[in-house]
């Protein structure tokens, strides 16, 4: 479904140093790692928003790296993404934000209205259509972002810190919502989160990233048993260690 093969990207210094990662169809993959590991940049590369220096990224069997703008847009239409800072369009209401991807696809207004209503209900924001994003709390904005990402029922969903700054209960609800999306839509999800204690139990697989490389990928149990001191320290949250 998503196949990343030896991807490199440098700015002033190397950020991605040969990342290889696979996300299987209909699975929820947690992408974790210390700050500055390159997780967000990797997600942007998968979404076709950052051009990498070398390597291959295959989305649904099609190459994203160095593809034409047209091919990129076709592949992007199969991806829903939530950005780290949500990136809701602040010149639109909540309803318009969620409806926007459907309207651009030329869906009938009645169908758009109904699906927006259902999607907002799904994320616990029923009746929020006319509100403005600036009136919402951080958690509500993130849930609107999740609804917008999923409104077209894309086969791939990329979530960058969907629970950042949320209280423990709302965080657990958000991750439960992602699990529900995976089951309801059958989508492949890659989720970045710093809250590994709440993320890992809902994942099918985990990939640990450090200094631009994937250190380990597998189930939570497999990754915990990997025997890498960096992974052990990161997952256990210890102060002493190589990090």
């Amino acid at each position: 479904m998503i196949s990343i093969d030896r991807v490199y990207k440098s700015f002033e210094s190397p950020v991605l140093r040969g990342v290889t990662l696979n996300a299987r169809p209909g699975r929820l993959l947690g992408l974790v790692g210390p700050p500055g590991a390159g997780k967000t940049l990797l997600l942007r590369a998968v979404a076709g928003l950052t051009e990498v220096d070398a390597g291959r990224i295959k989305i649904l069997g099609h190459e994203m790296v160095q593809s034409s703008d047209k091919t990129k847009r076709v592949l992007q239409s199969s991806i829903g993404m939530l950005f780290q800072n949500v990136a809701l369009f602040d010149f639109m209401t909540v309803g318009q934000n969620v409806a926007f991807p459907l309207q651009r696809r030329g869906e009938a207004p009645s169908e758009v209205r109904e699906r927006v209503r259902r999607e907002l209900e799904e994320v616990g924001l029923a009746g929020f259509e006319e509100r403005h994003p600036s009136w919402l709390s951080g958690g509500q904005r993130r849930r609107v972002g999740i609804a917008r990402a999923a409104i077209t029922r894309p086969p791939i969903l990329l979530y960058d810190e969907p629970a950042a700054g949320l209280d423990p209960v709302t965080t657990s609800r958000t991750f439960a919502l992602l699990q529900k999306q995976r089951d309801r839509l059958g989508s492949t999800l890659i989720v970045i989160s710093s809250d590994i204690d709440r993320l890992l139990p809902v994942t099918d697989e985990v990939a640990v990233m450090h200094e631009g490389r994937i250190l380990a990928q597998g189930t939570e149990a497999e990754v915990r048993a990997w025997g890498d001191p960096v992974i052990d320290q990161f997952l256990e949250g210890r102060i002493d260690g190589p990090l």
Binding site: M81, F89, R104
Partner: protein, 263 residues
């Protein structure tokens, strides 16, 4: 002395590189707007919205400025015209200045200040808050949705605004002539249409307006989309965009004036 000259040369070199880079970026903005339009991807509802927001919203400020500028041209020239008994040339003098120079330059600067800075701030905010990336992630090309509608709306606004400004400034000049020099509007009109002015003078002004419109649209868009570093970065982009656009307006003014000067 040698060290100072060296620094001066380095500064000039960096300035030149910056200027060439800015012009190159603006050419890319114009090219992407043209390409998106030719592909039929220019978002028409955004274009309509930009024309109303940027264009209609600018008319009051253009009209109020033009009235005063037309009047002030007469106030400044009144003593000279009276001394030589040349009041009948008032229409020609005001028309020549307004159509060829003051109308387009003043409108260009007003639109740069109001519309250009607004465009840079809006696009800068969309850029630093990842909303432009949000569009791209939804498979929407920002060139068709954001760039092309704004570029065309600003160019149309500048050209139409210049026409409005010319007409209103001439009316202001005629009114000032009547009240300050007691020049009858018919005399003013005769001076304007005596044959010393032609449609070429108006076209010269419109050519400048078109050039200024392209400069304002591409410069403000390029600075907005290039904003970095959160809200302070947007502020920096707006400041740099306004200054750069003003310099380019005067450069284009000189270029058009030199290439189509009165023989």
């Amino acid at each position: 002395m040698v060290r100072f000259s060296g620094r001066l040369l380095v500064g000039l070199g960096q300035g030149l590189v910056g200027l060439v880079g800015a012009i190159g970026t603006q050419a890319m903005v114009l090219s992407s707007a043209i390409q998106a339009t030719l592909r039929g991807e220019c978002d028409l509802s955004e274009l309509r919205s930009a024309l109303v927001r940027l264009g209609l919203g600018s008319i009051p400020v253009i009209v109020s400025t033009a009235v005063f500028v037309g009047g002030l041209m007469v106030v400044q020239s009144a003593p000279l015209l009276s001394r030589f008994g040349a009041e009948s040339y008032l229409g020609w003098g005001a028309g020549f200045g307004i159509l060829r120079e003051v109308g387009p330059v003043l409108t260009g600067l007003m639109i740069s200040g109001r519309v250009g800075s607004n465009n840079t701030a809006e696009l800068g905010t969309l850029t630093v808050t990842e909303q432009v990336d949000g569009l791209r992630a939804l498979a929407i090309d920002p060139a068709g949705y954001l760039v092309a509608p704004r570029v065309w709306a600003i160019i149309v606004t500048t050209v139409v605004g210049t026409v409005v400004s010319m007409v209103v400034a001439l009316l202001g000049a005629a009114a000032a002539g009547l009240f300050l020099l007691h020049v009858h509007p018919a005399t003013f009109y005769n001076g304007l249409t005596s044959g010393m002015l032609s449609w070429m003078d108006a076209l010269h002004g419109l050519a400048k307006a078109l050039a200024f419109g392209i400069v304002i649209a591409t410069s403000s868009t390029a600075f907005g989309l290039g904003a970095k570093g959160g809200p302070p970065g947007v502020g920096r982009a707006v400041g740099a965009g306004v200054v750069s656009t003003a310099v380019l307006i005067f450069a284009m003014d000189a270029l058009v004036s030199i290439t189509s000067r009165v023989e």
